[in-house]
Symmetry: C2
Subunit: 591 residues, 2 copies
């Protein structure tokens, strides 16, 4: 405002990584100023000056109508618009991340907003904010403005385009520096870039955004992941099922998803006029398999597993690479069990989660989202059911010996408590991937029971769980975690053979067959480019082992192996090499 | 008309198995007569009398307007309605099977109908028909009326409901009898009935018709089938890929499917107003993976395989069990190759088809659908391309040593010739399942090329192929082929263990573990029902091997095995039994 005084402020929320502010930047004559990255140091400099002045933040409350007048008078028409929306709908949120931006008292409850809060700082600056704020600018630590992007006001294309300035803030400069270093590393590892270089997936303009197509190489990785999870699940009694991807509206009306996913649902009207949806969730279908006949308590727990897709009508602007897609493949499973089974079932699931993430060397943290006993009206089921269920989950956490649990008091869903697992990747980023969620709601809605020992109908419990969450998102995480250098068991090509000349092709072919017969994914390079160029091709593809076969190698009893990431050649006997590969793959070793 | 003289005739087409006539049956006073199966012998009797009179059929042509007046005057308003539709649209067809029912000269070409043909027989009977007819009723062989059903006029719910009388006709009584016997057998094997009894799939009213859900047992069978096909495909260089199920309209506009599947397409409009479709075909997607980068001739053939679903907006009335569904899982593959590769690629595919169907003991016949050189305007591509492609297919047929080929001159698709395989099931029914289709069209539309030896862009050819076609339909065929008694490798439960009493459970448990460790699907029955009842349960589930374990069996070194379909118990040593099972499964033996 000091640099370009006729600017109008949009929204400025905290986001997952940092913050942004949407601005209509205008100079004192009202001319639009087009920000470029070169402007950022200038803005940062002024911010530092303001911080050094130790300006206090002062809160003021004001009736909503007065606030609208106040901001209109100051030319801050976007703020006035937000307040008008708040008065009308009880919320200013267009998207979830905005909901923490501005709201008044009684926020979240529609139509109950009376007063809103403003914060003053410095000579003239005032902004609308729920707060709280730090005491003064002196309390601010280290910050950086990181980039500029265009953004439509309130995310709608028909609205004016604003300029979005992104930034980061930390308590100390050290933390900020570490984070900036991590960001630079993350950019190098960007799965969209690596996905293209490693030929893992394709985005086609004809198919559309958020709808990646997986090449043979990418598919191999997905299949290895699916196979691994299934290997861990099978001993625990999981059974696979298959459900259709389109379904009558009726199923989702019964489950409640028709209403809950109103915006994100892909709807279809058949030529006969029936209403269908492309499925946003799999659980309602699994209830139909469970519920199609009477179940005895003796059959329980029943565990249905399926790797299948759910579909969400995400907005185009929010789609990107594999991280946010419109068709999300889930490694979904539902356990249908009695109250008394919860602890044992959750321990089984935890065991799978634990073994899975250990394999990737991704440490896990645990969040326990439980109900708030003071607000029972928010939840489904009696206080006794919640107490009993959460006691079992607490017991599970205790048995797993986890002490550093993130406590989510009051963060349980309406339908039950849950345990989330947060995995940390190689460059220190946290990803919430695996989850265990109890559900008292769907068994009610679909009237799911088992016949008890006394011959009575007993209401059952459902457990929703995911090990790797979304296959697409997990692949994105994994590509960046490994920077594309997958361990041998996941590498689409595990061994590449490079014949020096035409006369070495036969020897390569023999070796190829030997390795392929042992189930190794091996590729033989054509011999029409220079050896150096072919080696570089495979290095770029991050193939774990590259073998160059020339005169010397043909006659030698040992192999000379280029191991990915190692300077020195590995000299090793054929059978030892094969044994090493087989062990590495079987044990899913890190490279 | 003689029995109920005020009846009105709807349509009476030939269908895949027999014929039907839709009738508004009314007596001489105009009262509706509700037909029951008891009426059928009465109608058949009158039909036989008419046949014995050897009444000639006489054809007459009439301008369409005159015909409308003619039928209106006789109270046959449905016929008049058909003719009005014919005059307006050039066809009377609402559904494909009707198209062979009534049409005038120039049929199939819109708006060119001038004259229509009528057939007279007996004293007063006259009907609208394209013909030809046999000379007289004396030429009719054996017939039977088989059932009655309700049917809306022209298949539309808002129209009056008519009564549909189904019938069969053969040249001789022997053929008719054989067919009726087959039908009785088919009814016993009905996959809908067996699917329920064997707990293979579920139809849920909330999910909707044509959208089956596969239980764990049904899923096991699907997975075995998929695994088998993949085992046959893999040695031939197939690679798996994965594509999204929803896609921008643009892809199908380019491929031509947007127009071609106009009626059957499930359309979606996103909240941003973009038009998507739920995929009706997989080939357009596979072209996007092939085409996302330059391909050298050295990389070809490229073979993409995927078991994935396509979706068709079939009308509710046509859906049934697994035979006709709205989400069709295909074992789809596309080979991208040069003209010169066609023969070798088709031989590879044929090899897979042959080994696959031999395993099920389903004999194959072959139909070769080729172009009509006299009508080159119907086809895409030059006569040279067609000649060369068909010469290769002919060579393939010759190399496979097949002599009894059904010749489909002029039956090729616009985009290329094809070879279809017709499999015969255990009760003599024919099913068209596997197919190999050449395609010159999509490579044009998507501009698919490879760089030739001369460094030029060379147009490639696509080969579409399916081995088992639709997974759902194939499962329906297989359930009926085996009457639910699957060979061991396909049986969801391969061995059932029945402990006589509580004290034999431990011995069963030990045996269960031993078999399960060898990968056998084994189930242990609870011990709370009588032995007889538990044995009957497994017999009803058609489990191949049932072992009852009591005092005698616990102590015996041999097992007493109830083999499905055998009266006598099989006495066999443990290790021999396991070896037998393993061999049976590994070799995918018929039971």
């Amino acid at each position: 405002m000091q640099l370009w005084s006729k600017s109008r402020l949009g929204v400025g929320p905290v986001i997952e990584h940092g913050f942004y502010y949407d601005l209509d930047v205008r100079d004192k004559d009202g001319n639009v100023v087009r920000l470029t990255p070169n402007h950022l140091p200038k803005i940062e400099k002024r911010m530092r000056e303001l911080i050094s002045r130790k300006e206090p933040f002062r809160r003021e409350e004001m009736p909503i109508d007065a606030a609208i007048e106040f901001f209109t008078a100051r030319g801050q028409t976007f703020k006035a618009e937000l307040l008008a929306a708040l008065r009308k709908h009880g919320t200013t949120a267009v998207r979830p991340e905005e909901s923490q931006d501005v709201s008044g008292e009684g926020s979240g409850v529609r139509g109950q907003v009376s007063n809103v809060s403003l914060y003053y700082t410095g000579e003239k600056f005032v902004d609308l904010c729920r707060g709280p704020h730090v005491g003064s600018t002196a309390d601010l630590g280290a910050f950086a403005l990181t980039k500029i992007a265009g953004a439509y006001w309130r995310g709608k294309e028909e609205n004016p385009q604003l300029q979005r300035v992104y930034g980061l803030a930390f308590a100390t400069q050290e933390e900020l520096d570490a984070h900036l270093k991590m960001l630079a590393e993350a950019e190098k590892r960007d799965h969209r870039k690596l996905g293209e270089e490693l030929d893992l997936f394709v985005l086609s303009p004809l198919v559309g955004p958020g709808l990646p197509l997986f090449t043979p190489r990418g598919t191999l990785i997905r299949e290895e992941l699916e196979r691994f999870v299934w290997e861990l699940e099978q001993p625990h009694g999981y059974q696979r099922v298959r459900i259709p991807h389109i379904t009558k509206k009726d199923l989702y009306e019964t489950s409640g998803h028709w209403e809950k996913f109103a915006d994100e649902l892909f709807r279809i009207t058949t030529r006969e006029g029936h209403e269908l949806a492309v499925k946003p969730m799999n659980c309602p279908h699994h209830t139909q398999i469970y519920g199609h006949r009477k179940r005895s308590y003796r059959e329980l727990p029943i565990r249905y597993k399926e790797v299948t897709a759910v579909y969400r009508d995400e907005q185009t602007g929010e789609l990107g690479g594999l991280s946010r897609v419109r068709m999300i493949t889930q490694d979904d499973a539902h356990v249908f069990c009695r109250m008394g089974h919860i602890e044992a079932e959750c321990l089984k699931i935890w065991e799978i989660v634990d073994r899975f993430y250990k394999t990737f060397k991704m440490p896990l943290r645990v969040r326990f989202s439980r109900h708030d006993p003071a607000k029972m009206e928010k939840y489904l089921g009696t206080p006794e059911i919640w107490k009993r269920a959460e006691e079992q989950l607490r017991q599970v956490i205790r048995k797993r010996g986890v002490e550093d649990v993130i406590d989510g008091l009051g963060e349980a869903a309406m339908y039950g408590p849950k345990i989330d697992f947060i995995a940390r990747d190689a460059i220190g980023r946290d990803w919430q991937l695996a989850t265990i969620q109890l559900d008292f709601n769907l068994p009610e809605r679909f009237n799911l029971t088992c016949t008890s020992e006394e011959g009575k109908d007993e209401r059952i419990v459902m457990v929703h769980r995911a090990i790797l969450g979304s296959l697409e998102r997990f692949m994105a995480v994994l590509i960046e975690h490994y920077a594309g250098a997958f361990p041998t068991w996941l590498a689409p090509v595990q061994v590449a053979l490079v014949p020096v000349g035409e006369k070495h092709v036969a020897a390569c072919e023999a070796l190829r067959e030997e390795l392929a017969a042992a189930g190794i994914r091996v590729e033989l390079a054509g011999s029409d480019e220079t050896v150096g160029k072919r080696i570089r091709t495979y290095e770029k593809l991050k193939v774990p082992y590259v073998l160059v076969i020339g005169d010397k190698e043909v006659d030698s009893p040992t192999l000379a192996v280029r191991v990915r990431g190692q300077e020195e050649l590995l000299t090793i006997g054929r059978s030892q090499f094969l044994a090493r590969l087989e062990k590495e793959i079987r044990e899913r070793k890190s490279f």
